[in-house]
């Protein structure tokens, strides 16, 4: 037997109110087994209240290498940040 079970990416919600966060990956024959295995591998100490699994080959990524160019457009737009603006100290709650 040479064909390996497919790879799944695992996302865990640590507690209510937080997003699911990527914690790692694992092999499993199907989605149901992937969720069970993820529970045993990634939440043995109550690290989560909810698990997502996604087939690794279903993920589309921004760029083949995690280079800057794709994110350059944000680089020169400092005016998107509140600290860009100068306002008198007397103006409260701004």
């Amino acid at each position: 037997m040479t064909s390996q079970w497919p790879l799944w990416e695992v996302f865990v919600r640590a507690k209510r109110g937080l997003s699911h966060i990527h914690v790692g990956s694992l092999h499993a024959p199907d989605a149901a087994m992937a969720v069970r295995n993820a529970r045993d591998v990634y939440t043995r100490r109550g690290e989560g209240v909810s698990i997502w699994v996604v087939p690794s080959d279903q993920i589309t990524a921004s760029s083949p290498d995690e280079k800057d160019a794709f994110f350059d457009p944000a680089g020169d737009k400092v005016y998107r940040h509140p600290t860009f603006y100068e306002v008198p100290a007397e103006a409260k709650h701004l």
């Binding site: 037997m1 040479t2 064909s3 390996q4 079970w5 790879l7 790692g24 990956s25 694992l26 092999h27 024959p29 199907d30 087994m33 045993d40 591998v41 043995r44 100490r45 990524a61 083949p64 290498d65 995690e66």
Partner: protein, 316 residues
């Protein structure tokens, strides 16, 4: 597409800024190969490492100890899985790595080729072997390769329970009958030097490993030399042995005021090299057991795959 030189410069810029390399980044082939070898060896050690302790699960002295030992051995299986997953981000498959282990083409830590003769050995492994592993692994949480570093963060969090339960098991013995205390001392006598050898060959002198350390430090894979980590382990462990009331089997062990460290007798590195080469007390047994477990489990893997395929067919 950037030229090779430019790509190397980008890689070293990240390394020099103490940044992290991520799976789809350009990296020198030698860096990738070194990581695959190291992470695979580490993963293999976690799963082979289940055997010496697994040997005592059915004979643990109480239900409490049995539950603890089961949980620890299960953790080690989990550590193996985190690490195989980290290795897979470098373009190798877990099946490939297991095949290399089974064919003796990749190694695992020499420590697991020693037998667990008594219950006290289980305590000694938790205290010393997991203790040495923690000393090695904590700096790896800052390793330059992101997936490896993240796996190590998870592992280190879990290891501290491993070490404490071992220490507690030994403490229970040393506070027991004279025979129980003698059993604890005997375990320390046998596990002390193999534990010191876990840090690898010395970095200087004729037995020095021949250069992995320097290159790995340049790449931010390794942060301290083998000898620095070994010294750190000794300095931490000696006071713990005093709490246990046990004697470390080294007549030359003493505090060196000037250095601010303990002086100690190094392990027998010739023995280390022999065991690495396959000539330890349990090498053949450990590998045979691993291969048998893999082969005996084949039908389960096949059945699960067949079931998944059939369900997909029905749904289609």
């Amino acid at each position: 597409m950037a030229g090779t030189e430019e790509r190397e410069a980008a890689f070293y810029a990240i390394i020099d800024a103490d940044g992290r390399i991520e799976p789809r980044d350009d990296m020198p082939e030698a860096y990738r190969r070194t990581l695959v070898r190291q992470i695979a060896q580490h993963a293999h050690s976690e799963i082979i490492g289940m055997q010496p302790e697994g040997n005592w699960i059915s004979r643990a002295p109480s239900l409490r100890r049995k539950a603890i030992l089961l949980a620890k051995v299960q953790d080690e299986a989990g550590h193996g899985l985190y690490l195989y997953a980290a290795a897979e981000t470098l373009g190798v498959s877990r099946d490939q790595l297991l095949e290399l282990l089974h064919a003796r083409k990749q190694k695992y830590s020499s420590i697991f080729n020693y037998p667990t003769l008594t219950w006290a050995d289980v305590g000694a492994i938790g205290w010393l072997v997991d203790g040495a592993a923690i000393t090695n692994q904590v700096p790896l949480t800052r390793c330059s390769y992101g997936p490896y570093a993240r796996a190590m963060v998870r592992i280190c969090k879990e290891e501290s329970f491993h070490q404490r339960q071992g220490f507690e098991a030994l403490l229970t013995l040393t506070r027991g009958t004279p025979a129980q205390k003698a059993m604890a001392q005997d375990a320390l006598d046998r596990w002390w030097y193999p534990s010191l050898a876990m840090f690898g060959p010395p970095d200087t002198g004729e037995q020095a490993s021949g250069g992995h350390t320097e290159q790995s430090m340049r790449w931010g894979i390794k942060r301290f030399t083998n000898d620095e980590l070994r010294q750190r382990f000794v300095d931490m462990t000696v006071p713990q042995s005093q709490v246990l009331g046990l004697t470390i089997p080294d007549p030359d062990l003493r505090w060196n005021e000037e250095r601010g460290h303990y002086d100690f007798t190094p392990p027998d590195y010739d023995e280390l090299f022999r065991v690495i080469k396959g000539d330890g007390p349990c090498n053949a047994q450990r590998l045979a057991h691993r291969v048998a477990a893999h082969e005996d489990g084949a039908w389960v893997r096949e059945a699960a795959a067949a079931y998944a395929a059939k369900k997909q067919e029905v749904a289609a």
